[in-house]
């Protein structure tokens, strides 16, 4: 009953908001206030985002030696990034291999975090009824962030290592004879660590979307004879799309740029775009690193653009 009442109240609000544009139009006349309100954020963005980004793009066209960088306008760095890419076909050049590897992790981690994140968010939204318990569970989800990344990474070794807990247990139980080597410093460990880290980024926006779903709709679906699965796929998932999308953007962009986790969990043997950039920075090849960063940025933006094509996020919010 109360759901129905709420639904009616919401409908009324929507109707009332029809008048809102006129009110807003009147407010807009009032000079500088909105600009002042937006100014601090705009300034922060300008100084800490736009300027460094512009500098990165500019430097990517510069020349460098082992100890200096000099202003120039050369495409040499971009050429170097794709060095051998045409020549080696059909073999893939380093850059393509690296991007493919990074993309592979993106997809796997995305699928894992989405599955786990959605499940957790669903549980929190529909099965936990009091706010207090929800908050407690949310805090539990943030546990991976309580320690520093370095400590977290080191602690995987005694768990997954050759002589680690998992291997000892499995050997002790007689499941395997020799320790599994692939638990640590492998694709598996990288995916595990990334999933462990970034599932929360899925949980939060999906939970938010789920909480906005009008419970009356679910009731209506049930009343119309929909099964649980049908309700999930036809009602809940479509309505959770904005949350899923936002979470996906978080996860994809973070994994694309990650080099610490991939580096440490992959035993530094697995390439990532971020690691390539880091190595080049260490050797003072700043223009080359900048060119790589610009390409990475373009790749990530293309990915985000593709995701945004799937859902019109402005409409859905």
């Amino acid at each position: 009953m109360s759901d129905a009442v709420e639904a009616i109240a919401e409908a009324r609000e929507t109707r009332a908001s029809g008048r809102a544009p006129r009110r807003r139009a009147r407010r807009e006349g009032h000079g500088a206030a909105p600009y002042l309100q937006a100014a601090p954020m705009a300034l922060v963005f300008l100084i800490f985002f736009v300027l460094p980004l512009a500098a990165t793009i500019v430097v990517s066209f510069w020349q460098y030696t082992q100890y200096s960088i000099e202003p120039a306008f050369t495409f040499q760095n971009y050429g170097d990034v794709f060095y051998g890419c045409l020549r080696d076909l059909p073999d893939l050049c380093t850059t393509f291999v690296t991007y493919l590897s990074t993309l592979k992790f993106c997809l796997i981690v995305w699928a894992c975090t989405l599955t786990i994140g959605f499940t957790v968010a669903y549980f929190l939204a529909f099965h936990v009824h009091t706010l207090k318990v929800q908050v407690i569970f949310f805090l539990l989800c943030t546990i991976p962030f309580w320690t520093s990344i370095v400590i977290r990474m080191i602690s995987w070794i005694p768990l997954l290592g050759r002589n680690g807990l998992v291997n000892q247990t499995l050997v002790g139980m007689g499941v395997i004879d020799t320790p599994l080597e692939g638990l640590l410093y492998s694709d598996f460990s990288v995916v595990l660590a990334l999933t462990h880290l970034y599932t929360l980024f899925m949980v939060v926006p999906i939970f938010n979307s789920l909480m906005r779903i009008d419970r009356a709709l679910i009731e209506a679906a049930r009343d119309s004879g929909a099964s649980g699965l049908q309700t999930l796929t036809a009602v809940i998932i479509p309505l959770a799309r904005p949350g899923i999308l936002i979470g996906s953007i978080f996860v994809v962009t973070v994994v694309m740029g990650d080099f610490l986790t991939i580096g440490i969990m992959g035993g530094q043997q697995i390439a990532s775009v971020g690691k390539v950039i880091q190595t080049q920075m260490q050797f003072l090849q700043f223009p080359l690193a900048a060119a790589n960063a610009v390409i990475l940025l373009a790749a990530v933006l293309a990915g985000v653009w593709a995701l945004l094509r799937l859902v019109d996020i402005r409409k859905e919010l």
């Binding site: 082992q66 100890y67 200096s68 170097d80 060095y83 380093t94 291999v97 690296t98 590897s101 080191i154 070794i157 005694p158 290592g161 050759r162 002589n163 080597e181 640590l184 410093y185 035993g267 530094q268 043997q269 390439a271 690691k275 390539v276 190595t279 080049q280 920075m281 260490q282 050797f283 003072l284 090849q285």
Partner: protein, 423 residues
């Protein structure tokens, strides 16, 4: 920086004041008011070179505050080149010098202000041990020790009065092994690529050093004879990386590491049973009660050396303090302190004076320890009767085959190294 120190540690300042004032008065006869303040030197280097005990002792004896800036091996030259104002004293590897000196950010050190300039270990100053020439492949310190002038951006081929770096620590690296997990005798660098250790070996992910390990192993295996493995041609780099990729695809390596602690963790956890190691890293594994051997090999050692340099911008009291600190550093206490961790110091004689005879015999003479050997922080390193791996100082440093290096083809090498990582 001095302000920060003043607030956080007012009592010690009081104690130091006297000493500092005297030092200040000696340097500046004019009654400078601020001359009473202790000078703070920002000391840039990797964390392994930054012993809190040394800073404490220097502060006690000289009234100079040492503020450590700890960064990675690769970050040291990057800081020198990009932020030369951010430190007063740098402890850098000699192999970085071919990049640092041309940048013009380093100031040649005046040899006449270094008290023990003539007592520097010959392996650094001349590339010899007991008059015998050691291997000079790579960036051998004596080749980059002298500048043509204080502000020169090129090295001098003959000894001059202008020094690039005054040695702090140096040593010879070799393969470290876990004798409890390896059955056979290890006597050659080739073992690093031995298929028997597939999935259990590791190399450094610092290209300048990692490629030297690889070169030692490949040459030992008879795959190639390098002209100068510390300064490879493009063809030699291609060949080396190709072989490394082959080994990597065959699952030879468990992991790559890039700092001291990682190498210790890999070895201590048993993930890796054979890898090139720094002598103090072997010591660190052993102090955890885990057997680990620094294994001398027939091809010799890959050596490295690190030293103090001054930034171009230093002057006045800071510069005086830097010289004072360096002279103190060479005067024995610090050298002994570092020796007891397994490093070698610039001036052996003064370090000897601050060590017990049985300690000197163990660390330098290659003799069995007459008493238990303790680290400077009081942990038991070896029980009486133990002999240091690799033997005496002269045996170790005399068997150096090559030095860590920055090659002429460095940029090409880094690109190929990235290919190796991506393969």
């Amino acid at each position: 920086m001095t302000d920060m120190f003043r607030k956080s540690n007012p009592t010690r300042r009081g104690v130091l004041k006297g000493g500092a004032a005297m030092a200040g008065a000696a340097a500046f006869p004019a009654p400078f008011v601020h001359a009473q303040e202790a000078v703070t030197l920002r000391y840039l280097s990797t964390a392994v070179n930054q012993s809190p005990a040394i800073a404490e002792k220097a502060s006690e004896e000289l009234g100079i505050n040492i503020e450590y800036i700890a960064v990675n091996t690769d970050e040291v030259p990057r800081r020198v080149i990009t932020q030369p104002n951010s430190f007063d004293l740098v402890d850098s590897e000699y192999f970085s010098l071919p990049n640092l000196v041309p940048s013009g950010n380093m100031k040649g050190m005046d040899a006449s202000r270094i008290d023990r300039i003539d007592e520097l270990a010959s392996v650094i100053a001349e590339g010899t041990v007991n008059g015998e020439k050691v291997g000079w492949d790579g960036t051998a310190p004596h080749e980059v020790l002298y500048l043509e002038g204080q502000d020169a951006t090129a090295f001098a081929s003959e000894p001059t009065d202008w020094i690039t770096l005054i040695p702090t620590t140096y040593n010879a690296d070799t393969l470290g092994i876990r004798p409890d997990l390896i059955d056979k005798e290890i006597s050659s660098w080739a073992s690093l690529l031995d298929p028997e250790f597939a999935g259990k070996s590791a190399i450094l992910n610092i290209p300048s050093i990692g490629i030297m390990d690889a070169a030692m192993a490949l040459e030992a295996r008879g795959d190639i004879a390098y002209g100068d493995k510390g300064n490879m041609t493009r063809e030699e780099i291609d060949f080396t990386i190709e072989k490394l990729i082959e080994a990597k695809r065959a699952g030879q390596f468990r992991a790559f590491w890039s700092n001291f602690q990682e190498s210790v963790n890999l070895m201590a956890s048993g993930e890796v049973v054979i890898q090139s190691m720094w002598s103090p890293a072997v010591t660190a594994v052993r102090t955890q009660g885990i057997p680990c051997v620094y294994q001398p090999l027939k091809e010799g050692y890959r050596a490295w050396a690190s030293g103090f340099g001054l930034p171009q911008t230093i002057d006045g009291r800071k510069e005086d303090a830097a010289y004072e600190f360096i002279n103190w550093f060479l005067s024995g206490w610090a050298g002994a302190h570092l020796s007891k961790q397994g490093y070698y110091p610039a001036v052996l004689e003064t370090a000897k004076g601050f060590m017990e005879p049985y300690e000197w015999d163990y660390w330098y003479e290659g003799e069995p320890a007459a008493e238990d050997i303790y680290s400077p922080d009081g942990r038991l390193l070896e029980e009486a009767g133990a002999v240091r791996d690799g033997g005496s100082y002269w045996e170790r440093m005399g068997a150096v085959a090559c030095w860590n290096a920055v090659m002429d083809e460095n940029q090409y090498m880094v690109r190929k190294w990235n290919e190796f990582i991506a393969a």
